[in-house]
Chain length 146, copies 2
C-alpha cells in the first residue's frame, strides 16, 4: 500500500545548523568551519551515507531468518567521492557524489559464497539503495513566503 513518509528541515539560529524531524525524531546537521558552519554535527551528504548503510543493516537483519542466513552481526563501511568545487560553483563537476562504495562485514559461520549471495539480496531489497542508485523524481510543490 502506498505510504507517505514525511519530514521537516528547519534552519536554526546558529550559522548553518539545521534541525530535521520525522515523526518527532530529530537529527541536527551542520557544516565544518571551512564551509562556514560550526562543525557541531554531520553534514547532509554524510547523513545520506549513514541512511544508506543503516538501510542495508536493517535489511540484513530483518531478512536473515527468512533467507536462511545465520547472521550474528553486521556492519558496513561506506565512502563517497564528492568535489565541493561543484556546489561552490568553481567547477562544472556534479554537485553530489560521483560514486559511493561500501564494504559489508558479516559476523557469520556461513560460507563466503553464501555471504556474497546474501549481499546481493540485501542490495536488491534496500529502499534507500534503490533511491540513490536509480534516482527519484523530485517535485517542488510550493514556495511560501512568511
Amino acid at each position: 500500500m502506498l505510504t507517505t513518509y514525511k519530514a521537516t528541515a528547519r534552519k536554526l539560529k546558529n550559522g548553518l545548523q539545521v534541525e530535521s524531524e520525522s515523526r518527532g525524531f530529530k537529527i541536527i546537521m551542520d557544516e565544518p568551519r571551512d564551509f562556514g558552519g560550526t562543525d557541531a554535527a554531520m553534514t547532509p551528504v554524510e547523513a545520506l551515507l549513514c541512511a544508506l548503510g543503516a538501510c542495508q543493516a536493517i535489511v540484513a537483519t530483518a531478512f536473515a531468518k527468512s533467507q536462511g542466513f545465520a547472521l550474528e552481526g553486521f556492519h558496513v563501511e561506506l565512502e563517497g567521492d564528492l568535489d565541493p568545487d561543484g556546489f561552490l560553483g568553481l567547477s562544472d563537476v556534479r554537485k553530489g557524489f560521483q560514486e559511493i562504495r561500501y564494504k559489508m562485514h558479516f559476523k557469520t559461520n556461513e560460507t563466503q559464497e553464501k555471504a556474497i549471495a546474501y549481499a546481493d539480496f540485501i542490495e536488491g531489497v534496500c529502499p534507500v539503495g534503490d533511491c540513490i542508485e536509480n534516482g527519484v523524481k523530485l517535485v517542488r510543490s510550493g514556495v511560501v513566503r512568511e
Copy 2:
C-alpha cells in the same frame, strides 16, 4: 578537489536498531513495531528525507548573501511515497520512493518572483538533491566474513 566522505553503519543488539556514524557524529535508526523494530528512532527512508531537507536549508542559508536574497528564516516540508510491499517482496513496485515532494518556506521580504528564483537556485546547487534526483553509481567494494 575530490574529497572522500566516510560513514559506518552497525547493527546494534536491539532488534533492528542501527547506529550510523560519520566523523564521530552518530545517528540511531530503527523501524516501527509493524516492521519488527522497536520504534526508537526514525527509519532510513525518513533519514533520507531529512538529509535532503537539511541540504536545501544549508544551501538556502549559505548562499543567501552572495545571491542577494534577504533570508530571515527557512524551513522545508518534505514527503515521499513508498509502497512497503516492494521491499517486503509482495509486489513488483520499486523498493524506494516513487516520488518526493517538498514545499519551501522562506521568511523574507523579497518578492514571490525572487523567492521562486532562489528556490530554483537552491535546487540547482543542493548536493543531496543531485544524488537523489540523478542517481549515484553504487559499488560494493567487498564482502568480509568475521
